[in-house]
Symmetry: D2
Subunit: 142 residues, 4 copies
């Protein structure tokens, strides 16, 4: 199974007047973690894998998070990301954000593989994941 760990810091700009992280920021953090996971799997930066597969991205059909404990500005956190399921044109990602070993937030994403619409490059269209990508998504490591 494809996995990745990265570290980041919760910043002042992520926090709200209650002094804790404004929760949509977690989804931004998770989105970046998913990008990094796929970049590692494909051995290319996102800008290059979008070009390589004439593709528009991997938008979400569902997102979910459980917030166990709040984080605050200055908190150093680790995000463990794993590809937990991979279908024909969609895949599921799980994120576990922890601080000093304590699980703070869990995130779940269901994403689809989309390409630029052939008739209008501004539109997107879901598509089977290319076989070579599937192969890399399904081998262990990362």
């Amino acid at each position: 199974m494809l996995t990745n760990i990265r570290n980041t810091r919760i910043e002042w700009c992520d926090c709200d007047p209650a002094g804790i992280i404004f929760y949509p920021r977690y989804f931004e953090i998770f989105d970046t973690s998913t990008t990094v996971l796929i970049e590692h799997a494909l051995g290319m930066n996102k800008i290059d894998y979008l070009k390589a597969y004439a593709f528009g991205g991997h938008p979400l059909v569902e997102a979910r998070a459980r917030f166990r404990l709040p984080t605050r500005f200055g908190d150093e956190v680790a995000i463990e990301t794993a590809l937990i399921e991979c279908g024909r044109s969609s895949f599921k990602i799980e994120h576990r954000l922890s601080k000093a070993g304590t699980l703070m937030v869990e995130g779940f994403e269901t994403r689809v593989w989309v390409i630029r619409h052939p008739d209008d490059p501004k539109r997107i269209k879901s598509q089977p994941i290319p076989p070579e990508v599937l192969a890399r998504f399904r081998r262990s490591g990362g």
Copy 2:
């Protein structure tokens, strides 16, 4: 049941290089809708209801969204928000974001009522929802 509808527009700043909304922005939109719902229920702005109840906010323990169709910059959308469940210290909110009558995104939030921690005003602490707030949350209308 407490409900509210508000209108907004998806802006350039909400959208990503795929030309569609960057999904964490939906959670920002939902958060504002929840604020507006509670402001209407309590007849006070958030800044005032936080003062009135010595309270730190209504952070989330769980958030979820289903993205049915993408929205893009310039899209005029309506968000219908409803308080669908109200417990002793937590409550559930549902959001339905639609464009020209078509449901685009559904959002679900489970929130808790928190006050400033008596020993440290920078920390927060969950607390039963005050009876007068409960009464307003549970009556119909909005």
Copy 3:
């Protein structure tokens, strides 16, 4: 001179742990105001004027703001936007954000007109403003 006024509300999600707006949010507000100004001038939504002129946007070469008084969540504000200068391929915009008639923030933007690069649609390239756009930018009203 092209001008526009729009109203918005500073929201919880715009504010930081000091309880006031996190200042980069003003630049987001100004960016949306500029979009609205140009949409009114051209009689088209941004998504349509980008298509009409095969163009990539109007990125900034310089931005500046003076923060006179802080705004907080719940503040209803008005933003007056004016095109104050228009050159061959660049233009200047001024924003005045006020609350109940009191000027809170002034913003200044210098922007250039860019099109998609002919050799690579992912890159952008500065370009003279089309004559019909210039004509609309330079007539009074809005």
Copy 4:
């Protein structure tokens, strides 16, 4: 003179439908750089230096940026930050963001030292910079 360099990466979530960074994100990046600069100068995390000086933050009275070249998602950038002027209650910061040695963006901030208002902890009030902070701001290093 107090200086600091940090590295970050421009992410998908920072970019707009033109595929380049949405410029207010630079001000977020600069804000974090200023925090890191002051943390290093004072030897404390922001959350701790706010407590140590009963203080509300260092909001801006003026911000400015010159955007020389656009950055895009995946770009690794370095931000050099320097305290270039320090008065009695205000100070000026300069940021130079570069990619592979090429200067992309310059940022300038004028900030004031504010404390929580004695009559209302939700309000802020400008204040002379404490002497021990001034001493650390004015010595060289970082």
